[in-house]
Symmetry: C2
Subunit: 219 residues, 2 copies
Protein backbone atom coordinates (compact mmCIF):
# COMPACT_ATOMS: atom_id res chain seq x y z
CA UNK A 1 0.00 0.00 0.00
CA UNK A 2 1.30 3.44 -0.90
CA UNK A 3 1.58 5.86 2.01
CA UNK A 4 -1.26 8.31 2.34
CA UNK A 5 0.07 11.47 3.94
CA UNK A 6 -2.03 14.52 4.73
CA UNK A 7 -0.89 17.68 6.51
CA UNK A 8 -3.45 19.89 8.23
CA UNK A 9 -1.67 23.18 8.28
CA UNK A 10 -1.85 26.95 7.93
CA UNK A 11 0.36 28.74 5.40
CA UNK A 12 1.76 31.19 7.97
CA UNK A 13 2.51 28.72 10.76
CA UNK A 14 6.17 28.20 11.62
CA UNK A 15 5.12 24.98 13.30
CA UNK A 16 3.44 23.76 10.14
CA UNK A 17 6.54 24.77 8.17
CA UNK A 18 8.64 22.45 10.31
CA UNK A 19 6.56 19.52 9.09
CA UNK A 20 6.69 20.82 5.50
CA UNK A 21 10.50 21.14 5.57
CA UNK A 22 10.92 17.67 7.09
CA UNK A 23 8.61 16.06 4.51
CA UNK A 24 10.41 17.89 1.69
CA UNK A 25 13.81 16.78 3.02
CA UNK A 26 12.60 13.19 2.94
CA UNK A 27 10.97 13.58 -0.47
CA UNK A 28 7.57 12.51 0.87
CA UNK A 29 4.57 13.48 -1.24
CA UNK A 30 1.60 14.68 0.74
CA UNK A 31 -1.67 16.51 0.53
CA UNK A 32 -1.53 19.98 2.06
CA UNK A 33 -4.84 21.05 3.60
CA UNK A 34 -5.05 24.70 4.59
CA UNK A 35 -7.07 25.25 7.76
CA UNK A 36 -8.89 28.47 8.55
CA UNK A 37 -7.86 28.98 12.17
CA UNK A 38 -10.78 31.34 12.77
CA UNK A 39 -13.15 28.57 11.71
CA UNK A 40 -11.47 25.21 12.25
CA UNK A 41 -12.72 22.20 10.35
CA UNK A 42 -14.56 19.41 12.12
CA UNK A 43 -11.84 17.13 10.77
CA UNK A 44 -9.09 19.09 12.56
CA UNK A 45 -11.06 18.94 15.82
CA UNK A 46 -11.37 15.17 15.39
CA UNK A 47 -7.74 14.68 14.50
CA UNK A 48 -6.40 16.81 17.38
CA UNK A 49 -9.14 16.85 20.03
CA UNK A 50 -6.73 17.70 22.86
CA UNK A 51 -5.14 20.88 21.51
CA UNK A 52 -7.32 21.59 18.43
CA UNK A 53 -4.23 23.02 16.70
CA UNK A 54 -2.36 22.64 13.47
CA UNK A 55 -0.11 21.10 12.29
CA UNK A 56 -1.47 17.57 12.30
CA UNK A 57 0.23 14.95 10.16
CA UNK A 58 -2.10 12.15 9.16
CA UNK A 59 -0.24 9.07 8.03
CA UNK A 60 -2.43 6.30 6.64
CA UNK A 61 -5.35 7.68 8.64
CA UNK A 62 -3.51 8.04 11.95
CA UNK A 63 -2.92 11.55 13.35
CA UNK A 64 0.33 12.82 14.87
CA UNK A 65 0.26 16.20 16.63
CA UNK A 66 2.80 18.74 17.92
CA UNK A 67 5.38 19.93 15.43
CA UNK A 68 8.58 18.56 16.97
CA UNK A 69 6.93 15.20 17.60
CA UNK A 70 5.81 15.21 13.96
CA UNK A 71 9.34 15.97 12.72
CA UNK A 72 10.79 13.21 14.86
CA UNK A 73 8.11 10.81 13.59
CA UNK A 74 8.89 11.73 9.96
CA UNK A 75 12.58 11.16 10.67
CA UNK A 76 11.90 7.72 12.15
CA UNK A 77 9.46 6.51 9.47
CA UNK A 78 11.32 7.77 6.38
CA UNK A 79 14.73 6.97 7.77
CA UNK A 80 16.57 6.07 4.58
CA UNK A 81 16.98 9.62 3.32
CA UNK A 82 18.33 12.79 4.96
CA UNK A 83 18.54 11.75 8.63
CA UNK A 84 17.54 14.68 10.79
CA UNK A 85 18.42 13.54 14.31
CA UNK A 86 21.99 12.39 14.94
CA UNK A 87 22.55 8.69 15.59
CA UNK A 88 24.52 9.33 18.79
CA UNK A 89 22.29 9.42 21.90
CA UNK A 90 24.04 12.35 23.53
CA UNK A 91 23.87 14.40 20.34
CA UNK A 92 20.20 13.43 19.95
CA UNK A 93 19.51 14.72 23.47
CA UNK A 94 21.31 17.97 22.63
CA UNK A 95 19.31 18.39 19.41
CA UNK A 96 16.05 17.84 21.32
CA UNK A 97 17.23 20.30 23.97
CA UNK A 98 17.93 23.09 21.47
CA UNK A 99 14.66 22.53 19.61
CA UNK A 100 12.91 22.85 22.96
CA UNK A 101 14.81 26.09 23.67
CA UNK A 102 13.43 27.46 20.38
CA UNK A 103 9.88 26.63 21.51
CA UNK A 104 10.33 28.02 25.00
CA UNK A 105 12.22 31.19 24.10
CA UNK A 106 12.08 32.28 20.42
CA UNK A 107 8.47 31.33 19.88
CA UNK A 108 7.25 32.96 23.11
CA UNK A 109 9.24 36.18 22.57
CA UNK A 110 8.06 36.38 18.95
CA UNK A 111 4.40 36.31 19.94
CA UNK A 112 5.14 38.90 22.61
CA UNK A 113 6.64 41.26 20.04
CA UNK A 114 3.89 41.27 17.43
CA UNK A 115 0.96 41.23 19.83
CA UNK A 116 1.99 44.47 21.58
CA UNK A 117 2.65 48.04 20.54
CA UNK A 118 6.38 47.44 20.64
CA UNK A 119 6.72 49.74 23.62
CA UNK A 120 7.63 46.80 25.77
CA UNK A 121 11.36 46.56 25.14
CA UNK A 122 11.52 43.52 27.40
CA UNK A 123 10.19 41.08 24.79
CA UNK A 124 12.54 42.50 22.15
CA UNK A 125 15.42 41.95 24.56
CA UNK A 126 14.18 38.40 25.22
CA UNK A 127 14.16 37.73 21.48
CA UNK A 128 17.65 39.10 20.96
CA UNK A 129 18.93 37.11 23.95
CA UNK A 130 17.31 33.93 22.62
CA UNK A 131 18.70 34.40 19.12
CA UNK A 132 22.15 35.12 20.55
CA UNK A 133 22.00 31.90 22.56
CA UNK A 134 21.22 30.04 19.36
CA UNK A 135 23.95 31.86 17.47
CA UNK A 136 26.36 30.83 20.22
CA UNK A 137 25.29 27.21 19.88
CA UNK A 138 25.66 27.41 16.08
CA UNK A 139 29.18 28.81 16.43
CA UNK A 140 31.19 28.34 13.26
CA UNK A 141 29.32 25.24 12.19
CA UNK A 142 27.57 25.09 8.84
CA UNK A 143 24.37 23.78 10.42
CA UNK A 144 23.40 23.25 14.06
CA UNK A 145 24.32 19.58 13.96
CA UNK A 146 27.53 20.12 11.99
CA UNK A 147 27.97 19.67 8.25
CA UNK A 148 24.47 18.40 7.53
CA UNK A 149 21.08 20.05 7.79
CA UNK A 150 19.24 18.47 10.73
CA UNK A 151 16.64 18.57 13.49
CA UNK A 152 17.52 21.92 15.09
CA UNK A 153 17.74 23.55 11.65
CA UNK A 154 14.24 22.25 10.84
CA UNK A 155 12.98 23.55 14.19
CA UNK A 156 14.41 27.06 13.76
CA UNK A 157 14.44 27.92 10.05
CA UNK A 158 10.67 28.59 9.75
CA UNK A 159 11.09 31.57 12.06
CA UNK A 160 13.29 33.17 9.40
CA UNK A 161 10.24 34.19 7.35
CA UNK A 162 8.90 35.89 10.49
CA UNK A 163 12.11 37.89 11.10
CA UNK A 164 10.68 40.85 9.15
CA UNK A 165 7.67 40.89 11.51
CA UNK A 166 9.86 40.72 14.62
CA UNK A 167 12.22 43.43 13.34
CA UNK A 168 9.42 45.78 12.30
CA UNK A 169 7.29 45.52 15.43
CA UNK A 170 10.25 45.05 17.80
CA UNK A 171 12.20 47.87 16.14
CA UNK A 172 15.56 46.12 15.92
CA UNK A 173 17.81 44.42 13.38
CA UNK A 174 18.47 40.69 13.71
CA UNK A 175 21.40 40.89 11.29
CA UNK A 176 23.11 43.55 13.41
CA UNK A 177 22.71 41.44 16.53
CA UNK A 178 23.21 37.97 15.07
CA UNK A 179 25.06 38.15 11.74
CA UNK A 180 26.09 34.48 11.77
CA UNK A 181 22.56 33.33 12.40
CA UNK A 182 21.35 35.29 9.37
CA UNK A 183 24.15 33.76 7.29
CA UNK A 184 23.02 30.33 8.47
CA UNK A 185 19.40 31.13 7.51
CA UNK A 186 20.46 32.22 4.02
CA UNK A 187 22.46 29.00 3.70
CA UNK A 188 19.37 26.98 4.65
CA UNK A 189 17.29 28.94 2.12
CA UNK A 190 19.56 27.67 -0.65
CA UNK A 191 18.01 24.27 -0.06
CA UNK A 192 14.83 23.77 -2.08
CA UNK A 193 13.29 21.77 0.77
CA UNK A 194 13.43 24.95 2.83
CA UNK A 195 12.76 27.70 0.28
CA UNK A 196 9.67 26.03 -1.13
CA UNK A 197 8.28 25.24 2.38
CA UNK A 198 8.55 28.65 3.98
CA UNK A 199 5.96 31.39 3.67
CA UNK A 200 6.68 34.65 1.85
CA UNK A 201 7.88 37.15 4.53
CA UNK A 202 5.78 39.92 2.99
CA UNK A 203 2.64 37.79 3.23
CA UNK A 204 3.48 36.92 6.84
CA UNK A 205 3.85 40.65 7.52
CA UNK A 206 0.50 41.50 5.91
CA UNK A 207 -1.17 38.66 7.82
CA UNK A 208 0.21 39.95 11.12
CA UNK A 209 -0.84 43.53 10.38
CA UNK A 210 -4.35 42.12 10.01
CA UNK A 211 -4.09 40.02 13.17
CA UNK A 212 -2.86 42.98 15.22
CA UNK A 213 -5.80 45.05 14.04
CA UNK A 214 -8.44 42.35 14.50
CA UNK A 215 -7.37 40.83 17.82
CA UNK A 216 -5.42 43.57 19.60
CA UNK A 217 -6.81 46.80 18.11
CA UNK A 218 -3.29 47.79 17.04
CA UNK A 219 -2.48 49.81 13.92
CA UNK B 1 35.34 2.54 32.02
CA UNK B 2 32.41 2.31 34.39
CA UNK B 3 29.67 4.86 33.79
CA UNK B 4 29.78 7.87 36.05
CA UNK B 5 26.23 9.12 36.55
CA UNK B 6 25.30 12.13 38.65
CA UNK B 7 21.83 13.62 39.08
CA UNK B 8 21.46 17.25 40.14
CA UNK B 9 18.02 17.24 41.63
CA UNK B 10 15.71 18.47 44.35
CA UNK B 11 13.86 15.99 46.57
CA UNK B 12 10.43 17.57 45.90
CA UNK B 13 10.72 17.96 42.12
CA UNK B 14 8.37 15.84 40.02
CA UNK B 15 10.71 16.50 37.12
CA UNK B 16 13.67 15.17 39.06
CA UNK B 17 11.58 12.16 40.11
CA UNK B 18 11.08 11.28 36.45
CA UNK B 19 14.84 10.87 36.08
CA UNK B 20 15.03 8.93 39.37
CA UNK B 21 12.27 6.52 38.31
CA UNK B 22 13.85 5.96 34.89
CA UNK B 23 17.30 5.31 36.39
CA UNK B 24 15.78 2.93 38.94
CA UNK B 25 13.86 1.08 36.21
CA UNK B 26 17.13 0.57 34.35
CA UNK B 27 19.03 -0.37 37.48
CA UNK B 28 21.56 2.42 36.95
CA UNK B 29 23.58 3.44 40.00
CA UNK B 30 24.09 7.15 40.35
CA UNK B 31 25.08 9.89 42.72
CA UNK B 32 22.12 12.02 43.85
CA UNK B 33 23.09 15.62 44.54
CA UNK B 34 20.44 17.70 46.26
CA UNK B 35 20.38 21.30 45.06
CA UNK B 36 19.14 24.19 47.17
CA UNK B 37 16.95 26.00 44.65
CA UNK B 38 17.07 29.21 46.68
CA UNK B 39 20.85 29.16 46.40
CA UNK B 40 21.86 27.15 43.34
CA UNK B 41 25.35 25.71 43.15
CA UNK B 42 27.88 27.11 40.71
CA UNK B 43 28.07 23.59 39.30
CA UNK B 44 24.34 23.56 38.42
CA UNK B 45 24.70 26.95 36.70
CA UNK B 46 27.59 25.56 34.68
CA UNK B 47 25.81 22.33 33.78
CA UNK B 48 22.54 24.04 32.74
CA UNK B 49 23.49 27.61 31.81
CA UNK B 50 20.40 28.08 29.62
CA UNK B 51 17.63 27.26 32.09
CA UNK B 52 19.58 27.02 35.39
CA UNK B 53 17.14 24.33 36.51
CA UNK B 54 17.19 20.83 37.92
CA UNK B 55 17.13 18.01 37.01
CA UNK B 56 20.42 17.69 35.18
CA UNK B 57 21.76 14.23 34.44
CA UNK B 58 25.53 14.18 34.08
CA UNK B 59 26.75 11.09 32.28
CA UNK B 60 30.52 10.70 32.18
CA UNK B 61 30.89 14.46 32.60
CA UNK B 62 28.35 15.48 29.96
CA UNK B 63 25.13 17.22 31.04
CA UNK B 64 21.64 16.44 29.77
CA UNK B 65 18.82 18.82 30.73
CA UNK B 66 14.99 18.82 30.65
CA UNK B 67 13.28 15.88 32.32
CA UNK B 68 11.61 14.22 29.34
CA UNK B 69 14.79 14.54 27.27
CA UNK B 70 16.69 12.98 30.18
CA UNK B 71 14.23 10.05 30.39
CA UNK B 72 14.47 9.46 26.66
CA UNK B 73 18.28 9.61 26.87
CA UNK B 74 18.30 7.08 29.72
CA UNK B 75 16.02 4.83 27.67
CA UNK B 76 18.34 5.02 24.66
CA UNK B 77 21.62 4.52 26.53
CA UNK B 78 20.54 1.73 28.89
CA UNK B 79 18.39 0.02 26.30
CA UNK B 80 18.82 -3.59 27.35
CA UNK B 81 16.54 -3.42 30.38
CA UNK B 82 12.94 -2.17 30.85
CA UNK B 83 12.35 -0.32 27.56
CA UNK B 84 10.31 2.80 28.26
CA UNK B 85 9.37 4.05 24.79
CA UNK B 86 7.60 1.60 22.46
CA UNK B 87 9.54 0.34 19.45
CA UNK B 88 6.77 1.29 16.99
CA UNK B 89 7.19 4.84 15.62
CA UNK B 90 3.51 5.75 15.81
CA UNK B 91 3.27 4.53 19.39
CA UNK B 92 6.47 6.42 20.22
CA UNK B 93 4.93 9.61 18.82
CA UNK B 94 1.80 9.01 20.92
CA UNK B 95 3.86 8.45 24.07
CA UNK B 96 5.78 11.69 23.43
CA UNK B 97 2.48 13.47 22.80
CA UNK B 98 0.94 12.39 26.11
CA UNK B 99 4.08 13.20 28.08
CA UNK B 100 3.93 16.66 26.52
CA UNK B 101 0.25 16.98 27.51
CA UNK B 102 1.28 16.28 31.12
CA UNK B 103 3.82 19.11 30.93
CA UNK B 104 1.45 21.55 29.26
CA UNK B 105 -1.66 20.83 31.32
CA UNK B 106 -1.10 18.95 34.61
CA UNK B 107 2.10 20.71 35.53
CA UNK B 108 0.74 24.20 34.74
CA UNK B 109 -2.58 23.64 36.54
CA UNK B 110 -0.76 22.19 39.56
CA UNK B 111 1.38 25.29 40.00
CA UNK B 112 -1.74 27.41 39.56
CA UNK B 113 -3.48 25.59 42.39
CA UNK B 114 -0.85 25.80 45.09
CA UNK B 115 0.35 29.31 44.34
CA UNK B 116 -3.09 30.88 44.88
CA UNK B 117 -5.61 31.03 47.70
CA UNK B 118 -7.70 28.35 46.05
CA UNK B 119 -10.45 30.83 45.37
CA UNK B 120 -9.77 30.55 41.68
CA UNK B 121 -11.86 27.53 40.76
CA UNK B 122 -10.62 27.80 37.17
CA UNK B 123 -7.25 26.16 37.87
CA UNK B 124 -8.92 23.37 39.85
CA UNK B 125 -11.21 22.76 36.90
CA UNK B 126 -8.20 22.76 34.55
CA UNK B 127 -6.51 20.15 36.73
CA UNK B 128 -9.61 17.92 36.85
CA UNK B 129 -10.04 18.26 33.07
CA UNK B 130 -6.39 17.38 32.48
CA UNK B 131 -6.50 14.35 34.77
CA UNK B 132 -9.74 13.19 33.13
CA UNK B 133 -8.10 13.44 29.70
CA UNK B 134 -5.28 11.25 30.99
CA UNK B 135 -7.71 8.82 32.58
CA UNK B 136 -9.49 8.58 29.24
CA UNK B 137 -6.21 7.82 27.51
CA UNK B 138 -5.36 5.20 30.15
CA UNK B 139 -8.74 3.52 29.66
CA UNK B 140 -8.73 -0.05 30.93
CA UNK B 141 -5.06 -0.57 30.26
CA UNK B 142 -2.71 -1.59 33.06
CA UNK B 143 -0.23 1.15 32.17
CA UNK B 144 -0.42 3.96 29.61
CA UNK B 145 1.52 1.96 27.02
CA UNK B 146 -0.35 -1.29 27.68
CA UNK B 147 0.87 -4.14 29.86
CA UNK B 148 4.27 -2.68 30.67
CA UNK B 149 5.31 0.38 32.65
CA UNK B 150 6.65 2.95 30.17
CA UNK B 151 7.42 6.53 29.16
CA UNK B 152 4.03 8.14 29.93
CA UNK B 153 3.89 6.37 33.28
CA UNK B 154 7.34 7.75 34.13
CA UNK B 155 6.22 11.23 33.05
CA UNK B 156 3.04 11.23 35.16
CA UNK B 157 3.63 9.13 38.27
CA UNK B 158 5.77 11.73 40.10
CA UNK B 159 2.71 14.00 40.27
CA UNK B 160 1.04 11.36 42.45
CA UNK B 161 3.02 12.47 45.51
CA UNK B 162 1.73 16.01 44.85
CA UNK B 163 -1.95 14.93 44.69
CA UNK B 164 -2.37 15.69 48.40
CA UNK B 165 -1.18 19.28 47.76
CA UNK B 166 -3.52 19.71 44.78
CA UNK B 167 -6.49 18.25 46.66
CA UNK B 168 -5.90 20.32 49.78
CA UNK B 169 -5.35 23.70 48.13
CA UNK B 170 -7.75 23.04 45.23
CA UNK B 171 -10.39 21.64 47.59
CA UNK B 172 -11.36 18.59 45.54
CA UNK B 173 -10.87 14.82 45.49
CA UNK B 174 -8.88 13.27 42.66
CA UNK B 175 -10.15 9.79 43.53
CA UNK B 176 -13.78 10.94 43.21
CA UNK B 177 -13.09 12.46 39.79
CA UNK B 178 -10.59 9.95 38.43
CA UNK B 179 -10.84 6.62 40.28
CA UNK B 180 -9.08 4.64 37.57
CA UNK B 181 -6.15 7.04 37.52
CA UNK B 182 -5.70 6.60 41.26
CA UNK B 183 -5.85 2.82 40.82
CA UNK B 184 -3.16 3.15 38.15
CA UNK B 185 -1.02 5.27 40.49
CA UNK B 186 -1.31 2.68 43.29
CA UNK B 187 -0.34 -0.02 40.80
CA UNK B 188 2.76 1.98 39.83
CA UNK B 189 3.61 2.46 43.52
CA UNK B 190 3.87 -1.31 43.91
CA UNK B 191 7.02 -1.07 41.81
CA UNK B 192 10.10 -0.41 43.91
CA UNK B 193 11.54 1.78 41.13
CA UNK B 194 8.62 4.13 41.71
CA UNK B 195 8.02 3.91 45.46
CA UNK B 196 11.67 4.51 46.34
CA UNK B 197 11.98 7.41 43.87
CA UNK B 198 8.97 9.50 44.85
CA UNK B 199 8.93 12.03 47.66
CA UNK B 200 6.83 11.53 50.80
CA UNK B 201 3.49 13.32 50.14
CA UNK B 202 3.49 14.75 53.67
CA UNK B 203 6.92 16.27 53.14
CA UNK B 204 5.79 17.72 49.79
CA UNK B 205 2.81 19.23 51.60
CA UNK B 206 4.96 20.78 54.35
CA UNK B 207 7.35 22.13 51.72
CA UNK B 208 4.51 23.76 49.81
CA UNK B 209 3.02 25.27 52.98
CA UNK B 210 6.42 26.93 53.45
CA UNK B 211 6.65 28.02 49.81
CA UNK B 212 3.16 29.56 49.90
CA UNK B 213 4.08 31.54 52.97
CA UNK B 214 7.49 32.66 51.77
CA UNK B 215 6.75 33.54 48.14
CA UNK B 216 3.04 34.31 48.02
CA UNK B 217 2.25 35.45 51.56
CA UNK B 218 -0.41 32.73 51.84
CA UNK B 219 -1.33 30.90 55.05
Amino acid sequence: MADEVVLLDCYYSMFGMRARVALAEKGVEYEFREENLANKSQFLLEMNPIHKKIPVLIHNGKPICESLIIVEYIDEVWKDKSPLLPSNSYQRAQARFWADVIDKKVSVAGKGIWSTKGEDQETTKEMIDALKLLEGELGDKRYFGGDDFGFVDVALIPFYCWFHVYETFGNFSIEENCPKLVEWAKRCMEKESVSKSLADPNKVYEFIVGMRKMYYGLE
